[in-house]
Amino acid sequence: MPKDGGIGASTKRREDIRFLTGKGRYTADINLRGQAFACFLRSDVAHGRINGIDTSAAAEMPGVLAILTGEDFKEVGGNPTGWLVQSRNGETMKEPKRPVLAHGKVRHVGDAYAMVIAETFEQAQDACDAITADIEELPAIVDMAAAVADASNRVHDEISDNIVFDWGWIEDNRAAVDAAFAAAPHVTTLELVNNRLSPNPMEPRASIGDFDPGTGDYKLYTTSQNPHLSRLLISAFVMGIPENKLTVIAPDVGGGFGSKIYHYGEEAAVLAASKLLNRPVKWVCDRSEAFMTDAHGRDHVTKIELATDMEGNFLALRTETLANVGAYLSNFATCTPTFLHGTLMAGPYKTPHVYVNVKAVFTNTVPVDAYRGAGRPEATYSIERVIDKAARELGLDPWELRAKNFLTTDQFPYTTPVGLVYDTGNYHATLDKLGEMIDRNGFEARVAESRARGKLRGFGLSTWIEACGIAPSNLVGVLGARVGLFDSATVRVNATGNISVLVGAHSHGQGHETVFAQVISDKLGVPASSIEIVHGDTSKIPFGMGTYGSRSLAVCGSAMVKAADKIIAKGKKIAAHMLEASEDDIVFEDGAFSVTGTDKQKTFGEIAFSAYVPHNYPLETLEPGLEETAFYDPSNFTYPAGAYGCEVEVDAETGRVEIVSFTCADDFGNVINPMIVEGQVHGGVAQGIGQALMESVRYNEDGQLLTGSYMDYAMPRADDLPNITVDHSCATPCTHNPLGVKGCGEAGAIGSPPAVVNAVLDALHRGGITHVTHIDMPLTPSRVWAAING
């Protein structure tokens, strides 16, 4: 039994109290004295040349304080990309400037080209409507294949075509892969679309810029998953505000799922406007704006081929992908379809030869970047779909086909043909666990029972792996990252013995305030209730990279452990002095420092007090105080993995798919708070089912966004989803971080879409509808019906 409040306990979340009583403090809830309001004027065409903007009438409107356009930001820097990717031919990727406000051209519906600041939001909105712009509409570039084929119509005039890069991974593997294909007894080929999604955290973005003319300090309150990263980008690249004069505060943040990793132009704009007006300037995004400005996710078109022998042994895998990056390069737009996707194409399998080609393409659409899973769902979907198709073609059982190609436990550490080193795992264990959980023996009877009701029942399997705990800085540096990806924590033991932990990670639903306190409580033997977790304010926390990619516990948690270890080491020195013993004889256990083999001891509180009131203290050799900071840079990624099963019922008359059950057997390594881990999986699976069955961002050929609200973009609701059965007992702890944790936040979104699609195809085939070999997501009733009747 884990100690309540310690590692392994399903401790209830302390943050819930404020959220349940309406006392959360989200950015939009913050009102600063004297604040003005900003509204952005956004392009209603996908592609156009700005010939002129007339703000004269708007400037005369009541309450208007200032109007800014792209002209005003011409001299400041562009919003940069965090990762430089090289093309196969050795050329560096193309990287056109992404301005704060559009200048010269508008490049997607929603691209902001003017900003009004007024006394009230309504006045700013009214004045936006009074701005007249002469925008000459240009042909929209929407379809990726067309964007690649036609270099004469370009999203960015200053670069030679619409291709950001043409990336091969690993280029040196290519010949061997092609040779393996040429000699293979069987090749399964599949063309598929990984549908474009809108992340849709329920809290829309918001930002408040607050310049203090007295000190010259800037403060930005914003909806960010990583306030230090935003500060760095704004300081070093966009606005040139010295880092020490800018504080970024991300208070309570209502979900992110990737979309709040990025720095957005509105953040720089409210800072500039606040400086101009010497007043705080507040902007709150509405949902319609969110749909056309928050970075979208996925949007790949892929051809995947799997070479096997007739017994189903995987011989080689090859993919070609077009990845949409939208109109501008968002901060991690270039690494998502490459290093977070191509490097995962080995999956949990021992496929000896793998080659991945990705062309990233500019289009006149909202920028696309990492969304829950980021590249890894795309990889998993392609692999797990082609394996299912291969099983059918070869007449093999999909469970056995996977199991026979899994890496085995004696193969770790295992270097994949796509450049990762898996440290540990047990893929057979999670697959077997899933088998136990779903009552495989009763399946045929359930199929018959469904058939009796005129429904087709099917089961879909998917196994997944991801690389998270992002990331070893030296490795990603070699691969083109422009940032370090360590994290940090300060453990501040206060004089009275309670503890403040200041962390670089940011919680926007993950429950860090509870879980991180559990870790420190376990480490230092102090009750969790005496431990406070501080995050989200760059003026308080050490430099850390924030939260995304299931990294918080693996990276920031490791930094916390390191800092706590330093506290213990110092505590031992203090205890040795106080107890007149040798430091080597001091042991720390259950919150007390004692001399080994004696009953002499000092409590943690006594040591803390002594550090701050150092009367009996080795001042000649030791500084007073008890506060330690650690930066942790992981030596490898972590590799959580699992097996997911989905059972569906399809109504062949209508094409409607109902999920009967969804089951997950995961390996997350050690688990600190099972309740929270399970909640993370539920949420991820819900998003994955959303992708598989409902969600899709659509543009028409003119680049108009057709899915710009919850009326047109189908979000999963309570009655669209089943209960989700989860298990994480097959744990192989990570071998290289001190907690043995791997990360769980993205798992559900990675593993679930192929399970759902495989289940639907299984249902159709069992029902004798054998001509359908693939349906692109989302599997809406009309698509399924069309496939059946096609």
């Binding site: 209830k12 979340r13 943050e15 819930d16 109290i17 404020r18 959220f19 349940l20 009583t21 309406g22 006392k23 959360g24 403090r25 989200y26 939009a28 809830d29 009102n31 309504e122 849709n200 955290p201 329920m202 809290e203 829309p204 309570d252 943040v253 209502g254 979900g255 799922f257 509405d286 949902r287 319609s288 926007h508 639903g509 993950q510 429950g511 309740m675 929270i676 399970e678 909640g679 539920h682 949420g683 991820g684 699976v685 819900a686 998003q687 609200s709 919850y710 009326m711 979000m715 999963p716 609701r717 309570a718 009655d719 989803l721 209960n723 989700i724 059965t725 559900g748």
Partner: protein
């Protein structure tokens, strides 16, 4: 125009324009920022409050139209001594919230459901909450929390 209504048992007033929504009356006029705004098409339910005992999406009601009404918001849901009410406690116990943004609306809708139907089935809970979007939890634990708050938690858990 100054509008007065009874909010969480107290008469409260603020200036309004004709276009002022109940959600902004509460948030901006009265500083009750527990009521959230998650969309602009009456779809997400983050803004649900009770008006004269009935759940409404406060983003879709004009403040002036409900002048004089009895309004209850998330800030008025705790017990008198400040402890969590049964439904709030059930959300915490069953991890029915993650980022907390949908939570005020979820709690208000769930409370309305239980007032109408004290022992709903799981399907009834899912159907009733159809107007409240949560992006974090996948609803699994929200449904569990509502079932538990209705006193059916034990059976429900046993059945799983």
């Amino acid at each position: 125009m100054k509008v007065t209504m009874t909010v969480n048992g107290k008469a409260m007033s603020a200036e309004t324009e004709g276009r002022t929504l109940l959600s902004s009356f509460l948030r901006d006029g009265l500083g009750l920022t527990g009521t959230h705004v998650g969309c602009d098409t009456t779809q997400c339910g983050a803004c649900v409050v009770h008006v004269d005992g009935k759940p409404v999406k406060s983003c879709t009601v004009l403040a002036q139209d409900v002048a004089g009404a009895e309004v209850r918001t998330i800030e008025g849901m705790a017990n008198k001594d400040g402890s969590l009410s049964v439904i709030q406690q059930a959300f915490q116990d069953h991890h029915g919230l993650q980022c907390g943004f949908c939570t005020p609306g979820m709690v208000m809708s769930s409370a309305a459901l239980l007032a109408e139907n004290p022992t709903p089935t799981e399907a009834e809970v899912r159907a009733y909450l159809e107007g409240n979007i949560c992006r974090c939890t996948g609803y699994h634990n929200i449904v569990k929390a509502v079932m538990a708050a209705s006193g059916q938690g034990e059976q429900q858990l046993a059945a799983e």
